[in-house]
């Protein structure tokens, strides 16, 4: 191993990935070469010194500003999600109500009528709401809203549930 090869391999030497036979060759070279000994020592010292520039301490005022910002943004993000979720729930209730009404009056487009009838056939929860001419009074249970709102997903792409 010559000096150039030794310098090339110093990274491997310090991260422990050097092959044992190369480590032995390096050790033998170092014993005989003061220049490489000094190079190795100063290379190692450079690594150690550079760790000292690590900035662990964030100034307290920067930390406080950063924390206030992050907490505020997280609150806004959560509020956005809640708003979206609430809006989605309201839309699904309206959809289910309209589907039940149009089904009862016979005005539901054929595609959705067929899907609704198939669903009513095997779903005891929704069946009472999907009988022509019969709309149970009161609000629609959440389970039924979930089932009916999902029926729109069974329509072919591009079909509007109520034909509008």
């Amino acid at each position: 191993m010559n000096c150039k090869e030794l310098v090339y391999l110093l990274g491997d030497y310090f991260d422990g990935s050097m092959e044992p036979h190369l480590r032995q060759e390096l050790g033998e070279h170092i014993k005989l070469c003061d220049v490489c000994t000094n190079f190795l020592k100063t290379y190692d010292k450079t690594r150690i010194l550079c760790r000292s520039i690590r900035c662990d301490e964030i100034p307290p005022e920067v930390r406080d500003q950063l924390k206030a910002f992050v907490v505020q943004k997280a609150r806004e993000h959560r509020a956005d999600i809640e708003r979206y979720t609430t809006c989605t729930i309201e839309e699904r209730i309206l959809f289910a109500r309209r589907l039940v009404d149009l089904f009862a009056s016979g005005d539901l487009p054929p595609a959705l009528t067929s899907i609704a009838e198939q669903h009513a056939h095997h779903c005891a929860a929704c069946a009472p709401f999907l009988k022509t001419g019969v709309v149970p009074p009161g609000s629609i249970p959440a389970e039924v809203v979930d089932h009916l709102a999902d029926l729109a997903d069974e329509l072919p792409p591009g079909d509007f549930p109520f034909g509008d």
């Binding site: 010559n2 000096c3 150039k4 090869e5 310098v7 110093l10 990274g11 491997d12 991260d15 220049v35 490489c36 000994t37 000094n38 190079f39 020592k41 100063t42 290379y43 190692d44 010292k45 450079t46 690594r47 010194l49 550079c50 760790r51 000292s52 520039i53 690590r54 900035c55 662990d56 301490e57 964030i58 100034p59 920067v62 930390r63 500003q65 950063l66 924390k67 910002f69 992050v70 907490v71 943004k73 997280a74 609150r75 993000h77 959560r78 999600i81």
Partner: protein, 201 residues
């Protein structure tokens, strides 16, 4: 929920996805120092580092639902931080770095050192707490181009393994090792000149 429980990555992620305020605070307490320090090391500017840190937390909070856990949580957060810093660096388009080639060691045709090498490592022991030396190292580190500085900061300053740095930067391990080695050779040579000449070039 106690903050201790949120030291566990999976619980912290679960709570972040649920949107609890305690989880946001736990995330902040665990990572703000590292994120700020890393951003400052890459960007070299306090206000830029603060803005980058803000971006990192917002991204983590918004994207936590898409984090699949393929890598460690800190690794994902570091990657977001590095990407945010690199975007800022690129938008600045400033080129204040030096070519490291002129600071690489020179060898004879036979592969021997072309000049003598001083051992200044013991000299540094006496000056370890010297503020001036700290400033000099900082200045030399800052003069590294982005390609070398980011690898150097993650590996030697932050103390991550080559494998961790490689995962965060999306580089191969040999590429990380090569960049890190060249960065060290550059810094070693600059420190050598500083220690022997007693002044910053």
């Amino acid at each position: 929920m106690s903050t201790d429980r949120l030291q566990d990555d999976n619980l912290l992620l679960e709570e972040l996805r649920a949107g609890t305020e305690a989880s946001v605070e736990a995330l902040f307490e665990r990572f703000h120092g590292k994120i700020y320090s890393l951003a400052l090391s890459i960007l070299k500017n306090d206000s830029d580092a603060q803005e980058a840190a803000q971006d990192v937390f917002i991204t983590v909070i918004r994207k936590v639902g898409t984090f699949k856990g393929d890598s460690a949580l800190y690794s994902w957060i570091y990657r977001i931080c590095v990407n945010s810093c690199l975007m800022r660096l690129r938008s600045r388009r400033r080129n204040e770095t030096v070519s490291i080639e002129e600071f690489m060691p020179v060898f004879t045709e036979e592969g021997m050192h072309a000049s003598l090498v001083d051992d200044w490592s013991k000299e540094v022991e006496r000056n370890l707490l010297n503020k001036e030396l700290g400033g000099v190292i900082q200045r030399y580190t800052d003069s590294l181009s982005e390609k070398y500085r980011v690898v150097f900061v993650l590996s030697d300053v932050e103390g991550l393994s080559n494998e961790e740095t490689s995962e965060i930067l999306g580089l191969s391990v040999p590429a990380v090792k090569s960049r890190l080695h060249r960065a060290r050779l550059y810094l070693r040579e600059r420190l050598t000149r500083y220690m022997t000449q007693g002044k910053v070039e």
